[in-house]
């Protein structure tokens, strides 16, 4: 499949986006990368992210929620975003650095949770939107989450849990945040498979917010970051 594009013959942007969505849904990582590379060669990486990749990922996120959700498709989307980020980072001048990076934020799975896939995909989505991530990995104690957040100046701790049992472990983190007087200043984002099937669980374990999919995570983090700033202002 030839995906060469040029300014004169480029199909409408909407069509290219649709092609990208289709390739990702077919798990055609190579095809998606070829399409993005071709677009980047003519329009630059900045435009690829803003006009092609981000809208496509949002479209995929909207179309694969609910019963149509396929883990493999979300995984391919994250991989394509990761591939693009890697290339852009390694390409001097590829990204406009006038826009400040967001964050930092801390991510991890709670104690006893070893399901890394969801967390890694969320991290990729956040990085693609400019967030600086400190990924603490699996099986992270509450103290370590908070210690790392304080050490790095993170205003958000994102916790990914796969099961009800490990999600319950987030309560300990909530209690620790509150006990140290950090409620509001440090926002607690929670997510993972169990939160999708148990409405109300995020509030129940003390989360400040959750997202329906990895595609919705950047908007959640934007909101929580603002909430943290406002909380700090109100305490000042």
């Amino acid at each position: 499949m030839s995906l060469e594009l040029c300014n004169e013959t480029a199909p409408a942007l909407a069509q290219v986006r649709q092609s990208l969505v289709s390739l990702i849904k077919q798990a055609d990582r190579a095809g998606a990368n070829a399409l993005l590379n071709s677009w980047a060669a003519h329009h630059g990486y900045e435009q690829v992210f803003k006009e092609l990749l981000e809208p496509a990922l949002i479209g995929i996120g909207e179309s694969i929620t609910g019963e149509k959700h396929t883990l493999a498709q979300a995984y391919v989307a994250a991989k394509v975003a990761e591939d693009m980020l890697t290339r852009a980072v390694n390409q001097p001048g590829a990204i406009d650095h006038d826009e400040p990076a967001k964050g930092p934020v801390v991510l991890g799975n709670p104690e006893g949770d070893f399901h890394a896939l969801g967390r890694r995909m969320v991290a990729t989505m956040l990085r693609s939107k400019g967030w600086l991530i400190h990924d603490l990995g699996n099986d992270v104690p509450a103290e370590e989450f908070i210690g790392q957040a304080l050490a790095t100046g993170a205003r958000i701790i994102g916790v990914s849990a796969m099961t009800m049992t490990t999600a319950q472990g987030i309560r300990a983190l909530r209690q620790e945040i509150d006990a140290r007087g950090l409620r509001g200043r440090i926002q607690l984002a929670v997510g993972g498979a169990v939160f999708l099937v148990m409405p109300g669980l995020a509030e129940d374990v003390g989360g400040d917010g959750t997202a329906s999919s990895m595609f919705a995570a950047p908007a959640l983090f934007d909101r929580l970051w603002q909430a943290s700033l406002q909380a700090e202002l109100s305490h000042a």
Binding site: K25, Q26, A27, R29, E67, H69, T70, L71, A72, Q73, Y75, V76, K79, G112, D113, F114, H115, A116, L117, R120, N138, D139, T163, M164, T165, A193, V197, M198
Partner: protein, 340 residues
């Protein structure tokens, strides 16, 4: 009529005194015997004692050998973490990429301690209950075992982006799968439950289920000496059910609460046993009245479908599931039968 007779009659299309029901109470046995979970999942005698307590307390028509898939990953060399309120989990897979597979030793089903534990627990349960209550065992198909050996990320990556390697790995597991599953059947398991991850509509698109998972499953299942039941795992299975309908050795399908049992029956024909019912979350958090009402609605839906077993959807019941909710399932089955 005891449970083994009901089960036999169900298979022979003979009448039963009431509908069969069961719940996956593998973990719950530890609660009934106050057994620490590290012992529950390592000591066959302790596990079997828990299932005897399950039978005595709730009288389900099918009992379950250990439901702890992390043990399979640990058998390959993964690091296991025993938990205080759930089945053990894998803290670290044995390998991290498909490239390491060639140096991996397939565990010996007769000697590997985690595998021997499951076999021995099954044998003890069969020896104690088989005359009166069937015992089911659980294993994974060759397309799903690798996610426990190399982790979900690495296996997903391999299936999506290096299909020849994925096929090579999955095919290399067929003899192990056949030995283990036939071993369970030889030990007296009434059937073996096989959760479907890489054939699930929630995990992979249809093309992967059709072109990768199905052919390998067909090759593996054709070598079995007894029946298996394919399990929905967590998401609904219906969108891929047609791909799994005519696989060899498949005698039943355990479906999600969101699956339409009527549509499944229409698609599968009258022969396969269908299993379905309240999901584990309702059993844990609902009231006994809600559980009983849900069970009765399912039984009513299956009124003209004799080849049906009421069974929870989802996985093993949570340790803190209220016992009255489990009793409510049996009460629904008994009261529904008495009203007919």
């Amino acid at each position: 009529m005891h449970s083994a007779m009901r089960f036999a009659n169900l298979l022979r299309d003979q009448p039963t005194d009431r509908r069969l029901f069961t719940l996956v109470l593998s973990l719950y046995g530890a609660r009934l015997t106050a057994c620490p979970l590290d012992q529950h999942y390592t000591d066959p005698l302790a596990y079997a004692r828990g299932q005897s307590a399950v039978r005595e307390t709730f009288q389900p028509d099918v009992l379950f050998a250990p439901v702890a898939v992390a043990l399979i990953g640990a058998a390959f060399g993964g690091r296991l973490r025993y938990l205080t309120s759930n089945a053990p989990t894998l803290a670290q897979p044995a390998i991290e990429s498909a490239g390491e597979w060639q140096d991996l030793n397939i565990p010996d089903p007769e000697r590997q301690p985690h595998l021997v534990f499951v076999r021995e627990a099954l044998r003890r349960m069969v020896a104690e209950h088989r005359d009166q209550v069937p015992v089911a065992a659980l294993f994974l198909t060759p397309v799903d075992i690798p996610m426990l050996v190399m982790g979900m990320d690495a296996w997903m990556d391999t299936v999506l982006f290096d299909r020849p390697a994925a096929q090579r790995i999955a095919r290399s597991l067929i003899p192990f799968f056949v030995t283990m599953t036939n071993g369970y059947l030889d030990d007296g398991a009434a059937y073996v439950i096989l959760p479907c991850a890489f054939a699930s509509p929630g995990i992979v698109p249809r093309t992967i289920a059709e072109q990768f998972s199905r052919p390998i499953m067909a090759e593996a299942l054709a070598q079995l000496r007894g029946p298996v039941a394919l399990h929905h795992l967590d998401p609904p299975l219906l969108p891929h059910l047609d791909l799994l309908a005519d696989l060899p050795a498949v005698g039943g399908f355990s479906l999600a609460s969101a699956d339409s049992l009527s549509q499944a029956r229409s698609l599968l024909g009258r022969q396969p046993i269908l299993l379905g019912g309240p999901e584990v979350r309702l059993l844990r958090q609902g009231t006994s009245g809600e559980v009983e009402a849900t069970c009765r609605a399912v039984l009513e839906d299956r009124r003209d479908d004799p080849r049906f077993i009421l069974c929870n959807s989802g996985a093993d019941l949570w340790l803190d599931t209220p016992p009255e909710n489990i009793h409510a399932v049996r009460r629904a089955v008994e009261s529904w039968a008495s009203e007919r």
